[in-house]
Amino acid sequence: MDAVTICLLAFLALGILIYSGMHISTALFVTAFVGLWWDYGNLELVVRLLGIAATGAISSYEYGVIPLFVLMGYLVLKAGIGADTYAIANRVVGWAPGGLGHATVVANALFAAVTGVSIASAVLFTKISVPEMVSRGYSKRFAVGVVAGSSMLGMLIPPSVLMVFFAILTNTSIGSLFIAGIVPGILLSLGFVVVILFMALRHPERFGRGPDVQAAANEPSSEGNLLWRAIPVALLIALVLGGIYEGFFTPTEAGAVGAAGALIVALVRRVLSPRSLWDVLLDTAYTTASLVILIISASMFSRFIATAGLTVELTEWLHASQLGVTGLILCYVALILVLGAVLDSISIMLIVVPIFSVVFKSYGVDLVWIGIITTLAIEIGLLTPPFGMAAFVIKATMPQDDPVTAKDVFVGAAPFALIALAVIGLLIAFPTIATGLVK
């Protein structure tokens, strides 16, 4: 069998294993193991390669970024900063037509800048903003759709776990990727705001009694109180993103500073008992362990792909096919979107990126740019049936007496998925949107 056949079989096997519910890391391990054994025919050598991958993959200071940003994310949640962002956003943009929708988008954008995972945002804002929208007469489909749609911002706006994965898999700078995500994130938020405004003006009946400024003004939070809630958010964003952008901190240090900052906020607000702090640390440790073992197993898998020669063949074939960079990127995005319908974001990243990053490198393409496109394309998969994660998380988070179907979420989120596609188009046409800020 030639290299391409072997690799295609390996991908097929991997897909089946992941889909049958096997732990993704084990699926990657076993496919890589069997594949490498086939390639080399020397078990001793394969075992040695696996051992080196297991320890080599973690002998890097950069990986420290994972536990620290995960910790920061959990502490930020505990400190109630998510609710703060919603209160602030509501005050700033809540007056516009479709105001609570705008507030959800802006709050997600702010929250995304202090946390690295978008499922966390989906859970949080299903609890905070969906009930409020529904009680003010917004269509429920819109309410869950906007939460699902804006949860995409969680990964696009740094810090972002997906970007860390991309950076590690491709040997790109984590800091550069983070910086490159800022403008596309703002652009995506603006796109969401515009589409909500458009919907609210066209179908005011789906947006309840219109802007409810009165109720917002009657909320117990006075101006001073709101300012008090805004300061921690502003400080954390300035410390983490500003620190990385200005080069004061490495991403790892920025994670440590952000985690310490969130810890101080939580302590000052007296919302963290020693016990719940320990639980947060425990959650962080579990998440870290499961993420890093994924990276280790993915590095073995990409080792196998490289050994089998698929990347070389694919690169030669693509160069021979006269497909330009734009055509290649379009195919790449299409592939991710198709995979997004059946696999979760991490699996897609682990399968696609190791191969294509080599191809892109051979074209001399800036991988930071590709990283942002990849992240956004993968996030769209969260919103597409049949396996869009965001839909199921929102469905599971909604109260029993007020259920939504996954279809409600998919339909409600469709306009936001289209906006995200449009932003990908802009990114492909104008790479500076992503790379402009990177020094």
Binding site: I24, L50, T55, L291, I293, T397
Partner: protein, 196 residues
């Protein structure tokens, strides 16, 4: 995410027999998880102390990079078996929920086979990391630069090996449990894996 998590040691009580080996194994998993967890706080503290020291005294603390790098290996491999036990390994739901309701026996067989493959893989990794430990011990490789701040690599390699062995055993425990129908591997709430 705000639901209180059961304390680690309580999980031990779910295990059979007051003094059975699985129970002691459970304690071992928990103790190593506690150390791994505490190390995260240490890493955060060390990095912040370094930044403060640089800002106030224009002086970097020695060995921060090396401590962070080594700690990450320790955190991961000390915590891994506990993460597996708590159902925190990342997986896609795929066909399992449907299969469970329509063909429970087939689902059990499938899960058992999957867990046994996990046993196999981590047995291989245990062997591989054991060899690496031996060579690190023999050559006395160091983190950091010779003459500067440095410490031996072999204790970290030993923990990596230990973590792999614990994983193989934990997979085996789960496989046996699933095969005997003693409640399958716990599945965590969606989103607790917190990846997206």
């Amino acid at each position: 995410m705000n639901t209180p998590r059961k304390h680690d040691t309580q999980t031990g009580s779910r295990l059979p027999g007051p003094a059975s080996p699985t129970r002691y194994f459970g304690y071992l998993v928990n103790v190593s998880a506690v150390i791994g967890t505490a190390l995260i706080a240490v890493v955060m503290f060390v990095l912040n102390a370094d930044i403060v020291s640089r800002a106030l005294f224009s002086r970097a603390l020695p060995g921060v990079r090396e401590i962070v790098t080594a700690s990450l290996a320790l955190i991961v491999f000390l915590q891994l078996s506990s993460a597996l036990r708590k159902g925190r390994m990342v997986r896609t739901d795929g066909i399992v929920p449907v299969l469970k309701s329509r063909a429970p026996v087939a689902a059990r067989v499938l899960e058992t086979v999957q867990l046994l493959i996990g046993v196999g893989m981590f047995t291989v990794l245990s062997y591989a990391t054991w060899r690496l430990f031996l060579s690190a011990y023999a050559s006395n490789d160091q983190f950091g630069v010779p003459g500067g701040f440095s410490f031996a690599k072999w204790p970290v390699q030993a923990v990596v090996f230990f973590g792999c062995v614990m994983m193989a055993l934990q997979y085996l425990t789960l496989a046996v449990g699933t095969a005997m129908g003693r409640g399958a591997e716990p599945r965590d709430q969606e989103g607790e894996g917190g990846l997206h």
